[in-house]
């Protein structure tokens, strides 16, 4: 019974992963079709690289997030965006910045001693 439940969980998890990858690929494909800028961001304990990203108001971009070590989060509450950044996967989030300003993003999956310092900033200009 337990093994059956586990098997179901594995299948469901696999299906979700496939869906997420497909959705991510779709976002990227559509973005590329539209000629949208793709910005790669690497995450490791306890640093985003780059940790400062400058965008132009109203111009959509795709952030392509990859982890270099363990599971991290990418949370940009002011723009209502978050993603899990898991090792071996690429998380893609599309942003259409509507307002100018500085918007801090941070890791929201606890990753160790320097977790509280793992953050960066999106700067949106006219």
């Amino acid at each position: 019974m337990r093994q059956r439940k586990l098997a179901i969980r594995v299948v469901v998890s696999g299906f979700i992963v496939v869906l997420l990858v497909a959705a991510g690929s779709l976002v990227l494909a559509k973005s590329k079709d539209k000629g949208e800028r793709v910005i790669p961001i690497k995450v490791k304990r306890f640093e985003y690289t780059p940790k400062e990203v400058t965008l132009k108001r109203g111009v959509p971009v795709v952030l392509e997030l990859t982890s270099l070590d363990i599971a991290h989060g990418f949370n940009l509450p002011d723009l209502g965006v978050r993603a899990d950044v898991l090792p071996g996967w690429t998380a893609r989030v599309r942003i259409v910045p509507e307002q100018t300003g500085r918007f801090v993003f941070h890791c929201d999956i606890f990753c160790g001693t320097g977790h509280e310092e793992l953050e960066g900033v999106i700067i949106v200009k006219e």
């Binding site: 599971a71 899990d84 941070h106 929201d108 999956i109 606890f110 160790g112 001693t113 977790h115 509280e116």
Partner: protein, 301 residues
């Protein structure tokens, strides 16, 4: 009753409590005593965020002494609390599982010096998030549980063993089943580490699925939440539910959004231990949603 009056008099006359805060924040829909049991007056002490093992002389040069001083102050209270609760981040995080257990052993030994019959624990993300609560459970057993005391139903919620700051569907089902046994006017206190509401998500001061827990609690008339995590006193209402954050015993953090970063406030030699402390919480018998909170400062020995 005599003890109650004496304690209140003591707080008022000695001014030890600093602020005596009546929980409920103006909430007037006080329900009667729960049908499930008679409420007696009593009080407990909340300690939080001791981060045992933290090392940072510029932040707290007495990192090895502050918790011990707080334990001593609790032991010196004129009236013994019914119990003491630690609301998480008992230890400071470490990647080394051996060191983590060493810190938990030392913390447990220090807490054992508390001269009270019952001491309750719960994890913070520093204790439990890196190993999903494995070491914590070895020392302090389950991270979520309930207990009843003198007419109050206490619920300890774990929103840190999942490193993504989630309570999780399983625990939410457990909460739902536990609440289903209670009358809608039951007197309920929730202990948790992180705020259940979005206090300041920009600093990760939130629980990702905390709104689901609040939704489950909302039909109950007399619910109060006590938590830690943000290293400062803070009071907030979600509907009729009051949420009270406690001070830390290692370093204070800035008020939500008041600084560019959530970095510890450095030690001020002119005002040592400023912002560090613990609190007593008194459950009043006359009102099912009223709690008197007295804040105590850690002081130089």
């Amino acid at each position: 009753m005599v003890a109650h009056i004496n304690r209140r008099d003591f707080l008022r006359l000695a001014g030890l409590g600093g602020v005596v805060f009546a929980s409920g924040l103006g909430h007037t829909a006080d329900a009667a005593t729960s049908r499930s049991g008679k409420v007696e007056e009593f009080y407990w002490v909340q300690l939080s965020d001791s981060h045992w093992g933290f090392d940072g002389p510029a932040i707290n040069p007495d990192a090895k002494g502050t918790l011990k001083k707080a334990v001593e102050e609790v032991n010196n209270l004129p009236h013994k609390p019914d119990f003491v609760v630690f609301t998480g981040d008992l230890t400071h995080t470490t990647d080394d599982p051996v060191e983590r257990r060493k810190r938990m052993t030392e913390f447990r030994d220090i807490a054992a010096a508390l001269n009270v019959k019952t001491v309750r624990f719960m994890p913070g993300e520093h204790d439990a998030s890196l190993d999903r609560g494995k070491a914590y459970k070895e020392f302090f057993r389950e991270p979520n549980y309930t207990f009843d005391h003198k007419g109050v139903h206490f619920i300890v919620l774990d929103n840190v063993s999942d490193p993504a700051a989630m309570i999780g569907d399983g625990q939410l089902e457990w909460l739902k089943a536990d609440l289903a046994k209670l009358d809608k006017d039951a007197r309920i206190v929730v202990f948790t580490h992180r705020p259940l509401f979005d206090l300041y998500p920009q600093w990760d001061w939130a629980t990702r699925d905390g709104a689901k827990a609040i939704e489950l609690l909302m039909p109950y008339a007399n619910v109060t939440v006590f938590y830690g995590h943000i290293h400062q006193e803070h009071h907030h209402m979600t509907g009729h539910i009051a949420h009270h954050a406690a001070k830390s015993l290692i370093f204070p953090l800035p008020a939500p959004g008041s600084a560019p970063k959530r970095q510890p406030i450095p030690w001020n030699p002119a005002e040592p231990y400023k912002g560090l402390g613990f609190r007593s919480v008194e459950a009043a018998a006359e009102s099912a949603s009223k709690y008197e909170i007295a804040e105590y400062l850690v002081r130089k020995a």
